[in-house]
Amino acid sequence: MVGALNAALRDCLREDPAVHVLGEDVGALGGVFRVTDGLAAEFGSARCLDTPLAEAGILGTAIGMAMYGLRPVVEMQFDAFAFPAFEQLVSHVAKMRNRTGGRVGLPITIRVPYGGGVGGVEHHSDSSEAYYAHTPGLHVVTPATVADGYGLLRAAIASDDPVVFLEPKRLYWSSDPADAEAPASRAPAAGAPAAGLSASGAGPGTGRGAREGVAPIGRAVVRRAGTSATLITYGPSLPICLAAAQAAKADGLDLAVVDLRSLVPFDDETVCAAVRATGRAVVVHEASGFGGVGAEIAARVGERCFHHLAAPVLRVTGYDIPYPPPMLEKHHLPSVDRVLDAVARLQWEQ
């Protein structure tokens, strides 16, 4: 996916002089995950700017740049290191359009590598999507395939609204689009490209499937059609769900898999149609469950699909604990087994 993200940035920089990339180590280094590789060389240090180390300063500066008509694309180095920018994000980025009666929009894209499963030590594996999704005024999207990495990032940069663009770290090195019967579930072996303290990955993806065009923000996609139950997921958990669907075939179950792609705006229509088609649903994400995005989804589905449901909507999520040390993270992350266990609890006996 790294290649697709890089291609999206490159194409946007090429097409629109208003697009500017800024963040920590995005210049000569190309970012710790290499997403901005080669951009400073091609577009100059002003359009791919190495900033001082200060996340609130980065985002605050991007706000002023956007007010002047630029389209800043901010890179936060890691999920947990976006937190210093939280005040700028919540108090200004999210609210500026509303508080100025529509006069000042902020077309800022905030790229945040997120999630675990990459062997990172603490503060390198957080899933922060619920904070962002809870903040009116932000769009929150997360690609799970290489093609969406390209298409959604292009859409985010083109959007006139601020977009928090969550990049699943453990899919950075995936090179295959996750498609229906051949899930791109892989956690590559070794040698993360200078990815700070994380310890897996196999270099940038080839970007196959990239440049397929812009993916619409606000539209979920059914990655796998099915008739028995519906798995609703996004980002790093999509490959798990596709693998679970594959495995469930042995039990005679035909699971549908919905990839949300966009947490805000939320695609009630696609999600509800997919749930009504099966009458059973499990929401899967690796962020902690309490107060999480999955709780919102379960509530929405319950409110809208009650009479179609044969069982309560279940959730498979990370536990309600601070992100665990890497040697223990496998217990915390949703796994194929945990997903299948949840499916088994969907009151099939009735």
Binding site: A46, A56, G57, L59, G60, T61, H92, R97, T100, G101
Partner: protein, 416 residues
């Protein structure tokens, strides 16, 4: 373009990566005594017309503060953080800017916003509680009043930086604009203040930071806020020029701020100005200042009221007489009357604005929520037509009229 043009920094003494001092600190240091004009020899040389203009604006500014405070007592403003005693800074900040420049005010700077040309009612919309920002930031080149302390300082940096980038790409666009960010003394402790100054200096952005040091952050005196020799000394740590000025000396404020703005405009980098002043009123109408400062202290500062100081100067130089003062008083009353009239004429806020402008394109969820509130209000109005503050005539507001920003109508009676 190269981002930081070190050739414009004559005091750069080493390559950027050297570990020794990279520039000479001396030219950046503020004078230990604040710059003063009133009561010095420089006063006689000060442009008399400019001095009279400043005085006139100060008189109006003081009346504005009084009128706004009265409106809080009448319950017509939810809150008003008065800048009484700080009018020289407020007026000076607006006056030194050119039309292409931008102002980034904080919550105490309503007056500076009005002094730059915004209608009082629009500048006070935030404090009335009707809408967050009542003026068009692009029309006036004024960012919304910022309540989260020091956050707006970084916006000033980004905007000034962007303007410079654009000018480098397209010289025809070179507006040579300067961004002026206003913060209080307490706000200088915030991380965002530090980050903004550092970014401005590293990027060489044309920004002036004006700290109105009124001695207190609500109840906390500066001594508990900061141990630096002066706040202006902080500039040196970032490699920018620091200047200290008597914030109650309107002539000095104008002079120091003009110099700072032109310094930034000429590409010589940002400037930090500390203006030493005093807030004569409480923090806001909701504050009880007697809990943390003595009446004696306030009286001592009242003797240094910026208006009194300038008044004395003009009278001593024969630039103001009783007739002139009476004329000014009439103009001030006229302003106060106009503010009251604007308040009388201002409509109630429109509930449709709640759902407008959250996103460029309203989400389906927001449309549904708008429809729900509209139906509820319509039902209430139908039940009690006399109690219908929004004059919805039983129809509710038109939730379907929620349309995308910048494309036709802006929601029914939207904020625009």
């Amino acid at each position: 373009m190269t981002l930081v043009d070190h050739s414009t920094s004559p005091d750069l003494v080493g390559p950027p990566h050297s570990h020794g001092p990279r520039r000479d600190a001396a030219p950046l240091l503020p004078d230990p005594e604040p710059v003063r004009v009133l009561g010095t020899e420089a006063a006689a040389a000060f442009d008399p017309e400019l001095a009279r203009d400043l005085h006139r604006r100060l008189v109006l500014a003081r009346r504005f503060n009084q009128q706004a405070t009265t409106l809080t007592r009448q319950g017509r403003l939810a809150v008003y953080p008065a800048s009484t005693g700080q009018e020289a800074c407020q007026v000076g900040a607006a006056m030194v800017l050119r039309p292409q420049d931008w102002l980034f005010p904080s919550y105490r700077d309503t007056l500076a916003v009005v002094a730059r040309g915004v209608r009082p009612i629009d500048a006070l919309t935030l404090m009335r509680g009707h809408a967050h920002c009542g003026y068009d930031p692009y029309e006036h080149r004024i960012a919304p009043l910022s309540t989260p302390l020091a956050t707006q300082a970084a916006h000033a940096v980004g905007l000034a930086h962007a303007a410079r980038l654009r000018a480098a790409e397209d010289p025809a666009r070179d507006e040579r604009l300067v961004a002026l960010a206003l913060v209080g003394d307490g706000a200088t402790s915030e991380g965002d203040f530090h980050e903004a100054l550092n970014f401005a200096a590293v990027l060489g952005a044309p920004v002036v930071f004006l700290v109105q040091n009124n001695g207190y952050a609500i109840s906390v005196p500066l001594a508990r806020q900061c141990a630096a020799p002066t706040l202006a000394h902080k500039a040196v740590g970032y490699g920018m020029v620091g200047r200290l000025v008597d914030g109650n000396d309107a002539l000095a404020v104008h002079q120091v701020l003009s110099d700072a703005v032109e310094h930034a405009r000429s590409g010589r980098g940002p400037v930090l100005v500390e203006a030493i002043t005093y807030r004569l009123d409480a923090h806001t109408n909701a504050d009880d200042a007697t809990r943390y400062r003595s009446a004696g202290e306030v009286e001592a500062w009242r003797a240094r009221d910026p208006l009194t100081l300038l008044d004395a100067h003009l009278r001593a130089r024969g630039l103001l007489d009783d007739a002139g003062a009476a004329e000014l008083a009439r103009a001030a009353e006229e302003l106060a009357g106009r503010i009251r009239a604007e308040f009388e004429a201002a409509p109630e806020p429109d509930p449709a604005t709640l759902f407008a402008h959250v996103y460029a394109e309203p989400t389906s969820q927001l449309r549904a929520q708008a429809a729900e509130l509209s139906a509820r209000l319509a039902a209430e109005a139908a039940e009690d037509p006399d109690g219908d503050p929004y004059h919805l005539d039983g129809d509710g507001f038109d939730a379907d009229a929620l349309t995308a920003d910048g494309r036709g109508t802006e929601g029914l009676g939207g904020a625009a």
